[in-house]
């Protein structure tokens, strides 16, 4: 049984996109679509989550993700509390649950959890009271489901649907929870060809078993692509010598206008941020006409509103 779903199949927590049925993904994307116009109105708020308390539990630093979750919760009229908890003061397991129990005693309705350890959000979800929902905002190398969903929302907005697309994910797949969430979502939504392009040292073993084609060369990998998703080179996670240098990486795998020309002329370029300009992406591409990197950020708010609304609502019928 999927711990993310209620017995009736509705969403209980959002921990990973792995194993979520297409109907749920589509429901989230459709709901996000109807939240899009809220951000453009005179009053950028709907009363849906009035009286609910949402706690942003960030055990690992983040600016964009935490801010967009906060804005999303506030546009739903929830009360938001931000907690930046330094992992150094935590002694894992027990201490995390103590934190969570204390917040539950303050009548929390939802936890949004970012943690450097894979499985942290699952661990919290297994231990909360039945009325509390947990959203994984990134755990270790494992998953970042709302980022994956907002990327799917972006693709659908610019490309219409998923059925004839070739999508390439480029860069540090090994350390990327974003890449894992994207691959699960793309294959679930029926994208016929998902490629990963990376040096061998930045690919997890057995990545082919996730249903992707592997390339080690940008020219071949980008040929005919509709969507190019660049990943951040995870410098802070780079322990040991996986790469000769950032310059060398840029030469072979950095997205420049010349390399982008191998993709379809109307291909879109995405990046989950924050970007390392001149490492994985050239500024001319990042700021160019094919870039949809800033719309991704805007759409992230609507997608996170949709997830929170679906989690917080009752299901009496």
């Amino acid at each position: 049984m999927n711990p993310q779903l209620n017995q009736d199949g509705s969403l209980r927590h959002l921990l990973t996109l792995d194993g979520l049925p297409r109907a749920i993904l589509t429901q989230i994307l459709d709901t996000a679509e109807s939240f899009m116009d809220v951000g453009e109105r005179e009053v950028k708020k709907v009363p849906l989550l009035r009286g609910k308390s949402i706690f942003n539990l960030f055990f690992e630093p983040s600016t964009r993700t935490r801010t967009t979750f906060e804005i999303a919760a506030k546009r739903l009229s929830a009360d938001v509390v931000n907690l930046n908890i330094s992992t150094s003061s935590q002694t894992k397991g027990e201490a995390i649950l103590d934190t969570v129990d204390n917040l539950a005693a303050m009548h929390a309705d939802m936890f949004i959890v970012r943690h450097s350890q894979s499985g942290a959000a699952h661990f919290i979800a297994r231990n909360v009271a039945p009325h509390i929902s947990v959203i994984n905002a990134g755990d270790g190398r494992h998953a970042h489901p709302t980022q994956g969903l907002l990327d799917m929302f972006t693709i659908r907005r610019f490309k219409g649907d998923f059925h004839n697309l070739t999508v390439a994910i480029v860069g540090d797949v090994l350390h990327s929870r974003v890449a894992r969430s994207q691959i699960h979502a793309l294959t679930t939504l029926g994208v016929p060809e998902v490629r990963v392009i990376a040096p061998k040292t930045l690919l997890p073993t057995g990545v082919e078993q996730m249903g992707v084609k592997v390339y080690h060369d940008m020219t071949a990998g980008l040929a005919g692509c509709d969507v190019v998703i660049m990943l951040r080179l995870q410098n802070e996670r780079m322990k040991g010598a996986l790469l000769p240098s950032a310059q060398e990486y840029f030469k072979f795998f950095g997205l420049t206008p010349e390399k982008l020309a191998y993709a379809k002329p109307d291909a879109i370029v995405m990046h989950p941020g924050p970007m390392n300009r001149g490492v994985e992406i050239d500024s001319e591409v990042a700021d160019g006409p094919q870039s949809v990197i800033l719309p991704q950020v805007t759409y992230g708010i609507a997608v996170r509103m949709a997830v929170m609304a679906l989690l917080a609502g009752g299901s009496a019928t």
């Binding site: 109807s34 809220v38 849906l48 609304a309």
Partner: protein, 164 residues
């Protein structure tokens, strides 16, 4: 009881005739999804209203969200003009508890401050739970609580009222 209900199109025509004298250049017709939009589309055409039609999905404003959750198919609300100082003519198919209309008014005020809001419904079936009454009603009748009045639209666009 009311084995056969009057023809919906006749009721809409009567409603249009009743509304016509009070139409102003500032009037904006706004239909509530889904049935209310169908009626609003007809009224908008019959009244030759110059302002584009508005539509409202009140799912994000419902008072039973924490019990039953989000409606599975939320449609976007589209209000094509600034509502500030406008005369809103709010349209729904059936007025029952009044909760939908309350939610719709709350949503309208998040788009701006209209000068007036008036309510026109195809059927007022009574059993109101809030102090909300229609300014125009095509039909007023009393229906036992366990019965539903439904407006449905056929593929050819024909509207039909039924009691179930």
């Amino acid at each position: 009881m009311h084995a056969s209900l009057p023809d919906a199109n006749t009721l809409i025509a009567q409603l249009a005739a009743a509304i016509a004298p009070s139409l102003t250049p500032e009037t904006v017709i706004v239909g509530i999804h889904t049935g209310g939009v169908w009626v609003a589309e007809r009224l908008h055409a019959l009244l030759k209203c110059a302002t584009p039609l508005g539509t409202l999905d009140i799912s994000f404003y419902r008072d039973d969200f924490s019990r039953i959750g989000l409606h599975p198919q939320v449609k976007p609300s589209t209000l094509p003009v600034d509502l500030e100082g406008r005369d809103i003519l709010l349209i729904d198919d059936v007025l029952h508890s009044g909760r939908t209309v309350r939610a719709a008014m709350n949503e309208l005020f998040d788009y701006g401050r209209p000068a007036t809001i008036r309510l026109a419904v195809l059927v007022d079936r009574g059993d109101h739970e809030l102090p909300i009454r229609p300014d125009f009603a095509g039909l007023t009748l009393t229906v036992p609580n366990h019965q539903n009045i439904n407006l449905s639209r056929l593929d050819d666009g024909h509207l039909t009222l039924s009691l179930a």
